[in-house]
């Protein structure tokens, strides 16, 4: 039958060949998207399935737009993301530059550098939860034994310190994304322009600032794109370490969405939040991607 179809209408062949892919896409991507979009327009609750049929239009969205309870975690996520990405970039750059310089044991170090990425974020979260724990954590223990402080520091209880602890864990786990991509950039870096810059009068810092860094920026933007998506959906580390607490002071977008959807059983509203946060991710991706294109424009075709 298929043969009959392709011989009679050869122009159908491409569509025929695409059918399996299209069907997969339909079930994996399109249906969930449509379903979640629909639920974000209803007061859907997981426990009351019939709520899925009462259409409320954009009510979930309009509520969110005026709700500080949504915008504060939203803003916190953006802040968290900004700080994490900048610090990861700075540390990753430093690590990449150092590793690029050494001649002995480089392979080993490159592998070791990847270790944090091999661990499950949940386990990283637990690990740091114990490190930062105010009673039994080794950090407080160490600080007290060294006599640097005489009382326990509430790393995960004080709102600011808790944010810091979360950042620390996040950065510890993912700086190597930057380090690896920037190192790849350094390996790919042509030597000639560096030498030309030296002859043109640059000292080491000027060479770095004017030649190396611009060359590395596309690699940094790739890392930022990846990491902005990663951090914008940060959930596991936060859930494990602080659970969004104390009193919601470390609540990020996705811990809030999960709480709204599952604990408060407002799946409709949670999906509306998720859509708004997706827009955020798209914005970040678009922003870094544009930067990447701009920074990459010169790299095509130059040997």
């Amino acid at each position: 039958m298929i043969r009959a179809l392709t011989t009679k209408r050869p122009e159908m062949t491409p569509f025929l060949l695409l059918t399996p892919a299209l069907i997969t896409m339909l079930f994996v991507v399109a249906l969930p998207l449509v379903f979640s979009l629909w639920t974000s327009l209803t007061p859907y609750q997981l426990t009351k399935p019939q709520t899925i049929y009462s259409f409320v239009g954009l009510r979930n969205y309009t509520r969110l737009l005026t709700d500080p309870g949504f915008w504060i975690p939203f803003g916190r996520t953006v802040l968290f993301l900004t700080i994490a990405l900048n610090l990861e970039f700075a540390f990753g750059l430093g690590i990449a530059l150092l590793i690029n310089k050494i001649t002995w044991g480089q392979r080993g170090l490159r592998t070791i550098m990847m270790f944090p990425m091999m661990f499950s974020p949940i386990l990283v979260g637990f690990q740091f939860k114990f490190i930062f724990n105010d009673n039994i954590g080794i950090l407080n223990n160490a600080l007290q034994s060294l006599g640097l402080t005489d009382q326990a520091i509430p790393w995960l209880v004080d709102a600011k310190l808790a944010m810091f602890s979360l950042l620390f864990a996040e950065i510890w786990m993912s700086t190597s994304v930057f380090a690896i991509l920037l190192l790849a950039g350094l390996f790919a870096m042509p030597r000639d322009p560096l030498e030309a810059a030296k002859v043109d009068g640059c000292n080491a810092f000027q060479t770095f600032r004017h030649i190396t860094l611009p060359f590395l920026m596309p690699f940094a933007y790739i890392a930022m794109t990846i990491r902005s998506l990663d951090v914008a959906r940060a959930y596991d580390i936060v859930k494990v370490m602080t659970g969004g607490g104390p009193a919601g002071r470390t609540e990020l977008l996705w811990t809030m969405i999960a709480r709204t959807g599952y604990e408060n059983a407002k799946m409709g509203q949670a999906n509306a939040m998720a859509y708004i946060s997706t827009v955020l991710s798209i914005l970040f991706t678009w922003y870094f991607y544009r930067k990447l294109i701009a920074a990459r424009r010169f790299m095509g075709g130059v040997q």
């Binding site: 000639d192 030309a196 030296k198 043109d200 030649i211 095509g300």
Partner: protein
């Protein structure tokens, strides 16, 4: 004022010696070409002058000052790299002005000097393009422009034309020559193309395996090669070298063919000496089809193995004293393989080299 002096300059990579103590003095505003086969240490020497490579031993002086321990930026030299080494993220204007900007020149001064350099090199319409948007020849010009805007004490060129096609190479060669006439500065130019060496140089430095074989004007190097290496390296097709012995005032080739010792060399050879007779293809021609028909010569009948007609001349492969030699026939005449012709060897332009040392038997 910048003469460049190398005194016993040595470069080693670990135990591997690459440059073995070379001495060279380059005068102010002189155009010196370092030429030699691949791997002979030309680039290394140039990079030591630039400061991009540590100097293992000896002294490098620029303008009388020892620069061994100065970083490149303190040497006031410009370098043009083989693959141009333009800054890919800057447009042509910024590429040209980068050195001036780093030197802290005012924007007005930078734009004036960039404008001048762009004018000289015909880059004015391209100032806003990035290197990716330029052709090979244009990139080459930007690289040269970047070198000249800074008014350096010396220009260093490392095979700047080797990435261009033959036609463009010819054009750029002429432009470099013109440029040197306009912007008179000391130039050290590395190439393994002997045509570039011959046409550009005030003096040629022929290098081999980290040594200098000969230093001289293009004509000196061509007419009086100091060694068999220089003799075969400079000139195309290369000079023929035929093993021979001196006996009874004649040069006796392997098969017994005897030709008289060239007049100018008679005092310099003794009987029984093993030599190499060096004679360029241009100086072996069928009678009546050579460059010069007068002067001392010897005539031999040779069989043509192969002829390559090049239009107004043909390159002929034949055998003399059992060895393949190349000869030239001037004139649009077709020669067939197997044809036997009488060739005339122009002995006044022949050379004798000591077979043992490879050095020319005549002190220059």
């Amino acid at each position: 004022m910048a003469a460049i002096t190398l005194e016993k300059v040595v470069k080693k990579y670990g135990a591997l010696g690459v440059v073995h103590g070379i001495d060279l003095t380059i005068a102010h505003e002189e155009f010196v070409v370092l030429v030699g086969p691949s791997g002979c240490g030309k680039s290394t020497t140039l990079r030591m002058i630039a400061g991009l490579e540590d100097i293992t031993g000896g002294l490098v002086k620029i303008g009388g000052q020892v620069v061994n321990d100065l970083p490149p930026r303190k040497r006031n030299i410009s370098m043009v790299f083989q693959n141009y080494a333009l800054y890919p993220h800057m447009n042509v204007r910024d590429n040209l002005g980068f050195g001036l900007k780093i030197a802290g020149q005012s924007p007005a001064e930078i734009s004036k000097r960039v404008g001048e350099a762009a004018e000289i090199l015909g880059l004015t319409p391209l100032l806003d393009r990035t290197p990716a948007e330029l052709s090979g020849g244009q990139r080459q010009r930007v690289a040269m422009g970047r070198a000249i805007v800074r008014n350096p004490d010396a220009f260093l060129f490392d095979e700047p034309l080797s990435n261009l096609d033959a036609k463009l190479r010819g054009q750029m060669r002429a432009e470099i020559k013109k440029l040197h006439q306009k912007v008179r500065t000391t130039v050290v130019y590395v190439t393994h193309d002997q045509v570039e060496a011959m046409t550009l140089a005030d003096r040629i430095v022929v290098m081999k395996d980290g040594h200098i074989e000969q230093v001289g004007t293009p004509m000196q190097v061509f007419n009086h090669p100091a060694t068999t290496f220089v003799a075969t390296f400079i000139g195309s097709p290369p000079m023929n070298l035929l093993p021979a012995t001196i006996s009874g005032g004649a040069v006796r080739l392997a098969d017994g063919t005897a030709v008289p010792v060239p007049d100018r060399l008679t005092g310099h050879v003794r009987d029984g000496m093993a030599v190499l007779l060096g004679i360029r293809p241009d100086d072996i021609s069928p009678v009546g089809h050579g460059l010069s028909q007068d002067g001392p010569g010897a005539e031999v009948a040779l069989t043509v193995d192969l002829a390559e007609p090049l239009g107004m001349e043909s390159l002929i492969y034949t055998r003399l004293a059992g060895q393949e030699v190349q000869a030239k026939l001037y004139g649009p005449r077709i020669v067939a393989p197997g044809e036997v012709l009488t060739f005339r060897l122009a002995l006044d332009r022949a050379h004798l080299f000591d077979a043992a040392t490879g050095k020319t038997v005549r002190a220059l």
